[in-house]
Amino acid sequence: MPQLWLTIAILLYGIGLAYSILLTFSGRREKLEPFVIAMVRIGALFHFVSLAESVWTTGRLSLLALQRTESLLAFLLMVLFFFTFWRYRTFSHGIFVFPLVLALTLFTAYGIRPADLSAPARSGWTVTHVVLIVAGYAALFFTFTASILYLVQERSLKTHTFSGLAARLPALQTIDELGFRSLLIGFPFMTLGLVAGSVIAEAAYGPGYLRDPKIVLSLVMWAVYLVLLFTRWAAGWRGRRAAVLATAAFVTASLAWAANYVGSMHGMAP
């Protein structure tokens, strides 16, 4: 059953993606927006039911199965998307959010089943670790998308042309604020999640866990976010420089996530 609910959610998210593409490349389709947002909301509801049902039937630890984690990440991305839509009245992030959400949910629904979790990973602490990290990922993804949208808006303001995506972007300072707030929210989650993960790994494997590539990548990512936060706070870095950092952080984050599939001692392998 969770898979059926998720499939419905995917179809409804598809409307969101189609609309985002339309918006980005041809601009001005305001009349469709209430309909699209309603459809996507219903999709998120089905998504939630799917998540809730799988937790209900297989227990809270089922979140640790990689696919559930992805479904959770997708769901949190949607929650943040609704929040930004409500707070900043913008659909602009959709062009980044929907492709990722669809990829994650499609993988959850139809992807290959991952191996069972290794024994040390099966604990309540691990659930905390995973949920914190996923929340951090979701928030920091918005920092990344905001930095890209900032560049687009900055460019259109510099070249004095407002067409396509740029015609409906929020104000430059609003995008900036959105990205910075996501960073302020995402960074503590990410930090706490990594601390929790380190405690678990230290207890299970001893100091050797630092050799795990996923953990190394995660630490690099964390360091980049720290730099991003610091340069913004101390020197007010915005625009291009901030976008470079946010993109670097996003790439390392993706690599760290992808490391799950390569298989390492982290979680999946014995």
């Binding site: 004095h160 407002f162 430059l172 291009r240």
Partner: protein, 434 residues
């Protein structure tokens, strides 16, 4: 009766030509008086704004030639202006007036200033006595059309002028103008207008710097802002989020190194430069700095142009309204035309009757009151009987002209006038009473 409109606007003439034709407010009454003296002109009005100079005249007979006016008033040779001039007659002149008043002919379509300017010209024309009657009626109608266009279409809804484009761009950068400080460098009329718009949208403090400090103090007072020393400009400008420059300086005042300085002081918070000075006050390479956005007057105009194309559909609806109104007005002209014809026809026959009675009275000698009444009644009866058919026909023609058969009605009016030789009388009618 005919309307003639002669003019130049921003499309037909470059600013150098328009400058030479611009009529200051104080000379507008003289211009209108002079226009009235042009042969064949019974009523006239002159519009002069920064984007157009237009003469509109009404004449009872054939269209007058307004070009001599240009020579007489501006001392510019007509041949020099001919390539820039446009001339409209009849319905075309009416249409042009309606389009101007509705701001469809403006550089920034939908801007609201033009209607005010037309109304001001109208007020002047009334005090001078240049409009009375028909042209008055036409102008009042033009105001009504402008109002209809404004309320029934969205032509005037988005950015309408340089000042409001500046506000819109500031909002694109800062989101809200709440607490954003504005620095006016140079105390020009345009920058004052822009500052007023920004304030109306919530901007914070207004700083003013001007080479002549007294002017800065005066302008700052008007906005309850702060007058700054021009010499201290580079030290204080970083406090402003929006800088509007309009000085007469031949060299840029703000260069890249200043921009870098401001950004460092502002911790890279964005800064918006609106440069309405020609030559420019802000160096072009400032726009290359991250976080600094520079718009000069051409950039603002191009943004305005973008809005114009976005509102094309609305403009088309507005044009349709104008077209319908032109037709309605023309129909009305013809309906109105019947009344003077009827009146002069009656006057004409009445004059004949009186003349005949006077002529015959001498031969009849003294008449008793009863006989007097009988003669009166008889002649009146004859006149009324004769008048009955042409008057019915004219009234029918008036009704027809309502239904869009103006041509036939026009011919009939023309015919009646010819048969009864009314031309001379009607002229008195047209220029004299309302």
């Amino acid at each position: 009766m005919n309307y003639t409109l002669l003019g130049v606007n921003h499309r037909t003439a470059p600013v150098e030509v328009r400058e030479r034709l611009a009529i200051p407010e104080s000379r507008l009454p003289d211009a209108m008086r002079l226009l009235l003296q042009t042969p064949g002109v019974s009523e006239g009005i002159v519009f002069s704004t920064c984007n157009r100079v237009e003469l509109l005249a009404r004449s009872p007979q054939a269209a007058p030639d307004l070009k001599p006016f240009l020579h007489e008033f501006f001392r510019i040779h007509a041949a020099e202006l001919t390539p820039h001039l446009y001339e409209y007659r009849g319905a075309d002149a009416i249409r042009h007036l309606f389009r101007v008043a509705s701001s469809l002919d403006s550089m920034v379509v939908g801007e609201s200033q033009i209607l005010g300017q037309v109304k001001e010209a109208y007020a002047v024309a009334r005090t001078v006595g240049a409009v009375n009657g028909h042209l008055d009626h036409l102008l009042t109608r033009a105001f009504a059309v402008a109002k209809r266009v404004r309320t029934e279409t969205n032509v005037g809804s988005s950015a309408v002028s340089v000042a409001s484009v500046a506000v819109e761009l500031a909002k694109k950068i800062f989101g809200t103008l709440e607490g954003k400080n504005v620095y006016l460098v140079g105390a020009g009329k345009m920058s004052e207008l822009a500052a007023k718009h920004l304030l109306a949208h919530g901007a914070g403090t207004i700083f003013v710097a001007n080479r002549t400090h007294e002017r800065a103090v005066k302008l700052a007072e008007r906005f309850q802002g702060k007058a700054m020393l021009f010499e201290g400009l580079y030290e204080t400008a970083a406090d402003a989020d929006i800088v509007i420059t309009s000085t007469g300086s031949p060299l840029p005042i703000f260069r890249k190194e200043h921009g870098e300085l401001f950004l460092a002081r502002r911790k890279n918070r964005p800064m918006f430069f609106i440069d309405i000075a020609v030559p420019r006050d802000v160096a072009a390479d400032m726009n290359k700095l991250d976080g600094i956005f520079v718009y000069d007057i051409d950039d603002l105009q191009s943004v305005i142009a973008g809005h114009v194309s976005g509102r094309r559909a609305e403009a088309e609806r507005a044009e349709a309204i104008v077209e319908a109104e032109v037709r309605r007005f023309e129909e009305r002209i013809h309906t109105l035309d019947v009344v003077p014809t009827i009146v002069s026809l009656q006057d004409h026959l009445e004059a004949i009757r009186q003349a005949e009675i006077d002529k015959v009275r001498g031969r009849l000698g003294a008449l008793t009151p009863e006989q007097e009444i009988a003669v009166e009644a008889m002649t009146r009866g004859i006149v009324n009987k004769v008048l009955h058919t042409p008057m019915t026909a004219l009234k029918e023609a008036a009704r027809d002209s309502h239904e869009g058969r103006q041509a036939e009605a026009g011919t009939l009016i023309e015919l009646v006038r010819r048969i009864f030789n009314l031309e001379r009388d009607s002229e008195k009618q047209g220029t004299g009473k309302r």
